[in-house]
């Protein structure tokens, strides 16, 4: 019998992915960019203008093709100048930055103003998904990582995004959207209860963020401010909360 000890692969060792998550290191929001020259601002707005129609079509498709695309374009046009003003060329390319801001503005408007609650729920879920992507940046895979650890990371990323969609959909389902049939409405309500129970087990700040934003309909920025944390850090806490919720919901299932 061989007595050669087999050293465990580094990825078989407990990693920080397996450990209970601590709060992420604090991240301050970047300072606002210096004001732009009015002529430069007009030129940038003109350059980014085609994004309004593109994003309106995209958001409409993401919400299941429901609703009026003209309303989304109108929201986008109102948000365009602010998006250009907030853009810092040292931090991100203009068009990617503006596209994301327009998408946020359109989803937020649908979430707040839509008379179709199913559409509002989907907008809330999409907002949650974008926020996880923002707060959970994916590090480039290292060539030393094993297949198992890469698969674990990918599954965790998908889990957090799926949990965000579920929280967004279910939290906005009280009362259930009128377009759902009774069976679907009952499922959404039981999902809402299951998620509310799982949210109640989160650490205090994560729970406050999720409860107040999704169940209490408060703006994310306002909650971050009232908790005394930067929006960037709140986004990281939010992503962490979604990872934890994914685990809790899996245990419930």
């Amino acid at each position: 019998m061989s007595t050669t000890a087999i050293a465990p692969h580094i990825d078989d060792e407990p990693t920080e992915l397996d450990a209970p998550e601590r709060e992420p290191p604090y991240v301050a929001d970047p300072p606002p960019p210096p004001p732009k020259d009015p002529a430069e601002e007009r030129a940038l707005v003109a350059q980014a203008l085609p994004l309004v129609a593109q994003m309106a079509r995209r958001v409409q498709r993401e919400l299941g093709g429901r609703g009026d695309v003209d309303e989304l374009e109108s929201v986008g046009r109102s948000a365009l100048v602010d998006a250009v003003r907030a853009h810092d060329p040292a931090r991100a390319p203009l068009l990617g930055f503006v596209a994301l801001r327009l998408r946020w503005a359109m989803l937020d408007a649908v979430r707040r103003d839509s008379h179709v609650r199913g559409r509002a729920a989907r907008a809330s879920a999409m907002g949650a998904l974008l926020r996880v992507a923002e707060g959970d940046p994916i590090e480039r895979p290292s060539p030393e990582s094993s297949e198992a650890s890469l698969q674990r990371r990918f599954r965790q990323a998908l889990d957090a995004r799926a949990a965000a969609l579920v929280v967004g959909l279910a939290a906005a389902s009280e009362p259930p959207p009128e377009e759902l049939d009774p069976e679907q409405a009952a499922l959404r309500l039981s999902a809402r209860r299951a998620i509310a129970e799982a949210v109640a087990t989160l650490p205090e700040r994560q729970r406050a963020l999720v409860e107040r934003h999704y169940f209490g309909d408060e703006r994310f920025d306002d909650i971050a401010r009232s908790l005394g944390v930067s929006k960037s850090w709140a986004s990281r806490l939010h992503a962490q909360a979604m990872r934890a919720l994914a685990e809790r919901l899996r245990e419930l299932a």
Binding site: A133, I138, E147, F154, L165, L169, Q184
Partner: protein
């Protein structure tokens, strides 16, 4: 909505998604299998229509995010590739067949 789709929103009979332009075929198949696994946890919690919608959004989120797409590509089990390869030589006869042949 659910016609032609499985309960988890996967297009029936389709191995790869219709719109996964950033992903190669093998990675797209891996992503679909991962989506099955992730969405299965919500099968008793959400209507089929929501699950199908979630699948599309999650698939798009992988396709839209270059870092996530790169992670998916790196995480894809390499052995999966073999399933699409054509055999380059005739398979060896099984032991039982060889034994039967030997007895004749």
């Amino acid at each position: 909505m659910s016609g032609g789709r499985t309960r988890l929103g996967r297009p029936a009979g389709a191995a790869a998604p219709e719109a996964a332009s950033r992903l190669d075929e093998a990675t797209a198949r891996y992503v679909e299998a991962e989506l099955d696994a992730v969405l299965q946890g919500y099968e008793d919690l959400l209507p089929a229509e929501d699950l199908a919608w979630m699948r599309e959004r999650l698939r798009e989120s992988v396709d839209d995010d270059p870092s996530l797409a790169e992670l998916a590509s790196a995480a894809r089990p390499r052995s999966v590739d073999r399933s699409t390869e054509l055999p380059t030589q005739a398979p060896k006869p099984s032991v039982k067949k060889a034994e039967r042949g030997g007895r004749r």
